[in-house]
Symmetry: C2
Subunit: 353 residues, 2 copies
DNA sequence: TTGTAGGCGTTATCAA
DNA sequence: TTGATAACGCCTACAA
């Protein structure tokens, strides 16, 4: 059936042609690339020279069919355009490349349905998944994990390998910092309800507040986006809090803009603490924030997946990845202005309307 | 050689097993999925029912080897974390998915060498490339294009299919806007020297300035990043310009922060115009900016690639993608403060040092 | 250290 | 409308 032109390798030289040219068997050519240690030095050099000259490149697909290894992993995130995920992907992709793997990309648009679809579709062509901040129900995650090795990032399903960015302690530090500055009523501006990170952070704030004798209220957002932050800034003002910790930097930035457009300043009128450290320094004033080395986290998650694939690590391994609380320019003592407003919410409501 | 457990499909039911179970030939099972129109209705239903029951899923790799089509494209960008590229990737990946393609990701870290490497490595496993803002020399681009269909985004190599985001006219509008506000000396804060977009924008500013009788100077940056913007803010102040158009929003944001930290305000002390429209509204004040519908551009580029693959469009097709100039909050009349400083650069230098 | 040959799962040609 | 079967290109157990 030589009539069928290979569509994949437009100029594809095959292992057979190299073998013929080099006067060796196809197996020897194969070994020259896959298991050179089994071959005579001179043979290796000779074969490689011929391969180079003829422009031979091993066919990825054929190799994958034969070995069962595609040399590809998939990375699934809720939103590529979120700086945290973008930075994480960058680290993950770079590490995968360094270890000889290609990276397939999936953006689930924050919807569990699309995430499920991507997992199903991509399963056939990858060796494993790095599933970041999954919004999927536990049993669905487990179902996919059964089909293919799968590393969770910021999702805690027992008996599944995972990397958890531990931001709780840093949020607690943040609350302590606010308490020391004299704040008594603070807010936690929440992220996605289905997010493990969000639960961690909300709990950390709540517990730390209780311990320190502060009152912490919770403000919901639709999605971790600038717009969502902007949209909730009025609610924050009306609530009478003097400081807020947000789910992430993006929301915090939205809030800063929302306040600024209403004539309020940060930290003058409201102290603000974000999270992620990707864009914390790109705001003005620079955001006091819980910082995470996102790219490194992505690289570590990829390492974990590849180690699981090689069987060099337990399938239940759990990496606890650290964060740090960094004080920059958006926290200060509570303002008199909002403190007063707290006692007379009505007048403020008129102000910001 | 049944000893070799398939590593790819952990639970892989093959076409043969389904054929046996359904009492038909493997060819029929294949056709039930690939070319159902060749089959009897009842046969199709029967086969599909059996497939469903046994959990059969066509093996992607085997199909690719046989047909030469991997159902995968690669997307290569200089920096995933740049919001413009992130948004573009989002659109591209979503469109590819909708059309049944998976997307391989490559981040070249703004280096031609890594870009070249990615193109070479990935060529074996994809049907084609969307190459965004390539920093590669023309002949290298052509070499890769010869090996695999390749769509260029924001790179103008004749006789290669490409999508060009035409920002020139919008930059000219921006200059006219500044001229109307009374600015006489302006700056273009440049992006990557190897970037086609950068050349377009620089030329547009230069020409528009000449036409309107303004003086436009050029300020270089190391990379389109926040840090680079921050780093050049002092040079901008010292130059005595009263307004600047930047290569993109990220640089503009860096400049805003740099000015703010030195006690200068935007647009009070300097009018600023950015480009991309991804984060223009996330700054405060919101950035007057050349906006681009990035996701749509990514989707269009993917469409073009898939059309080229299907042969339904010429291999030299060129899409001119529009942009728009949007006035927001970072442009106003030139300040007296900097106009004065222009006449006495020394005193200002001391101020900002 | 190297060669031989069967098989990975699917598709597509040809024959029925 | 369906079946038998040779490829697709590579890898590897086994023989030499």
């Amino acid at each position: 059936m030589a009539f069928r032109r290979s569509l994949v390798g437009l100029s594809s030289v095959t292992i057979k042609q190299v073998a013929e040219e080099a006067q060796v068997s196809p197996a020897t050519v194969s070994r020259a690339f896959s298991h050179p240690h089994l071959l005579n030095h001179k043979t290796i050099e000779h074969v490689r020279a011929v391969a180079e000259r003829t422009g031979y490149v091993p066919n990825h697909t054929a190799r994958a069919l034969s070995t069962g290894r595609t040399g590809t992993i998939a990375l699934i995130v809720p939103d590529i355009t979120n700086p945290f995920f973008a930075a994480l992907m960058r680290g993950a992709q770079a590490r995968a490349r360094d270890r000889g793997y290609a990276t397939l990309l999936g953006d689930s648009d924050e919807t569990p349905e699309l995430e499920d679809l991507l997992l199903s579709k991509l399963a056939a062509q990858v060796e494993g998944f790095v599933l970041v901040s999954s919004r999927l129900a536990k049993q669905h995650v487990q179902r996919h994990a059964q089909r293919r090795p799968l590393i969770l990032v910021n999702r805690d399903v027992p008996r599944l390998p995972r990397l958890l960015v531990e931001t709780g302690p840093s949020y607690a530090e943040g609350v302590a910092h606010l308490a020391a500055l004299g704040h008594r009523l603070i807010a936690y501006v929440a992220g996605p309800a289905l997010s493990w990170s969000n639960r961690q952070r909300a709990q950390a704030v709540q517990k730390a507040a209780e311990r320190l004798g502060l009152r912490a209220i919770r403000i919901a957002t639709s999605r971790p986006s600038y717009e969502a932050g902007l949209a909730c800034s009025e609610e924050i003002l009306r609530s009478g809090v003097t400081a807020a910790l947000t789910f992430d930097d993006v929301i915090a930035q939205g809030i800063m803009a929302g306040l600024a457009s209403r004539g309020f300043s940060v930290p003058g009128d409201l102290s603000l603490i974000g999270c992620d450290g990707v864009m914390a320094m790109t705001t003005y004033p620079p955001l006091t924030s819980v910082t995470i080395q996102c790219a490194e986290a992505g690289a570590r998650a990829t390492d974990l997946l590849l180690d699981v694939l090689r069987g060099t690590v337990s399938r239940e391994h759990c990496i606890h990845f650290p964060s740090a609380f960094v004080i920059r320019g958006t926290t200060s003592s509570p303002s008199l202005r909002l403190a007063r407003a707290d006692e007379d919410a009505n007048s403020l409501t008129e102000m910001v309307a």
